[in-house]
Amino acid sequence: MRNYSVFDILGPIMIGPSSSHTAGAARIGKIAKKIVDGKIISVEFILYESFAHTYKGHGTDKALLAGILGLEPDDERLPNSFEIAKSMGVDFSFIESDQEAPHPNTVRMIIKNDKGEINNIVGCSIGGGNVVLKEINGISVELTGEYETLITNHIDKPGIIASVTKVLANNQINIAYMRVYRHSKGDNAIMIIESDQSIPEQAKLEIQNIQGINKAIIINTI
């Protein structure tokens, strides 16, 4: 039997009207923003299934964009995200897809930053404000944001995982869940580590300096 916190039952504090179509959408945008390096200059949101059919009435579009701008799901500026994005010089567009998706509430975000890099991220809102990212730049993942999360982009070769977990062990950080994904053998890989403790900035820098690690980012519990 699953355990529930009293705050799963009374909460979250959120901007309405829908925990899945508004609060969850904002969370997806927020996690995506953390994955992108530097300043975001444009986002194309491709909406699938229920998101595509009902986003207008639920403010899903405003919530997704608010998340990309870094607003929390309970930020009262969320309904004004279009205006805020314009004032920040962030371009955005929404496309309704008629294709099938991994979940009825799915969005694909094609995000460009000021360095000209493009991130392609797929997220699903799975109910009650809970979300899961399903794809990051062509690699299938499962990322919920419920735990302090470390994501590395690295080369698939022996020793990388051991080096990363050693840094965590030295910092007394317990790993709750851990998954490794790759394009193909020896190619680009992604490691997602969800931990019980918060990961200090200095540990992140140590991890980033490991040979073979291209990038390490930390997503705080949201």
Partner: protein
């Protein structure tokens, strides 16, 4: 030590430690998460403050939902309360106006507490804040009552469901009403048994309620169902405080609610494929809002 999965277990714990439901719920949260009890209390108090803010906003401002389906109903009713012109009496009408206020703030992309869901977010604040004010209860006492509500909600979540998509509106507004009823009983000084009796009555009265939102939006008929869930909570608390016992025990009522939910056809479980959503007017409104 404080873990509970069922109503009878929670009731046993209240007897074993001679504590109200709210205290056992706080101790269980502390035991499972390691978060200090003061912090747990403070976090719940934040929920209460947001509930109070959303009531104030909805009662006093002209609110229009994103879809345009709902506008200013809470304020309309509150005006009748202020001039003393209600059939249901000041307490019920005020509680209902407060519940409508929260649901309207929700539909207009305002800030609310999902309680237990966004669609049923008006019931607990409407009932608790109105009765709390009437009996001069402090924020701290109302916060305690929110833990009582959560305890009931946890048991429903574990043994049934709080999602309209799984159990229909009875799982959302019905659960909210049960949570609110138990909270009111503890707030007024009733026993743990009376809390469970009130919660049982509340679910029984709304058993079978379907989820058929027009255009798939949490507005019609959801807002008015929050009104009825609020009224139901207050009445069921009164029944329990008068000493009436639920013939069917709480855990069996929760189980019945789950079985009824599973047998509600999919078209009446939040898909907007049946009921009011599929009336000619419901379909017309959907086409208008989504521009089909």
């Amino acid at each position: 030590m404080y873990q509970y999965n069922h109503g009878n277990e929670l009731l046993e714990l209240t007897k074993k430690y001679n504590l109200p439901i709210s205290q056992i719920v706080i101790l269980e949260e502390n035991e499972r998460t390691g978060m200090p009890t003061e912090e747990i209390f403070k976090k719940m108090e934040e929920n209460l403050l947001v509930m109070r803010e959303s009531i104030e906003k909805g009662l006093n401002e002209d609110i229009v939902s994103v879809s345009g389906l709902s506008r200013g109903d809470a304020k309309k009713l509150y005006e009748r309360v202020t001039i003393g012109n209600t059939l249901s009496g000041e307490t019920i009408a005020k509680a209902v106006a407060s519940a409508l206020a929260v649901t309207e703030v929700n539909a207009s992309m305002g800030k609310i507490v999902a309680a237990p869901t966004a669609g049923s977010s008006g019931v607990i604040p409407g009932a608790l804040v109105t009765i709390g004010r009437k009996f001069g209860k402090s924020n701290s006492e109302m916060t305690k009552a929110l833990f009582t509500a959560s305890g009931i909600g946890v048991i429903i979540a574990k043994n049934a469901t709080l999602a309209g998509a799984e159990g229909g509106c009875q799982a959302e507004v019905g659960s909210a009403s049960a949570m609110a009823a138990a909270a009111l009983v503890e707030l007024i000084g009733g026993t743990a048994e009376e809390c469970f009796n009130a919660a049982s009555f509340a679910i029984m009265n709304l058993l079978g309620l379907v989820c058929d939102p027009v255009a798939g939006l949490v507005e019609v008929p959801c807002e008015k169902r929050n009104a009825i869930g609020t009224t139901n909570a207050i009445i069921c608390a009164d029944l329990a405080l008068a000493g009436m016992e639920s013939i069917i025990p709480f855990d069996e009522v929760v189980d019945a609610m789950y079985r009824v939910g599973r047998s509600i056809p999919c078209a009446l479980r939040e898909t907007a494929e049946g009921g009011l959503a599929k009336t000619p007017t419901g379909i017309k409104l959907k086409d208008k809002i989504f521009g089909k």
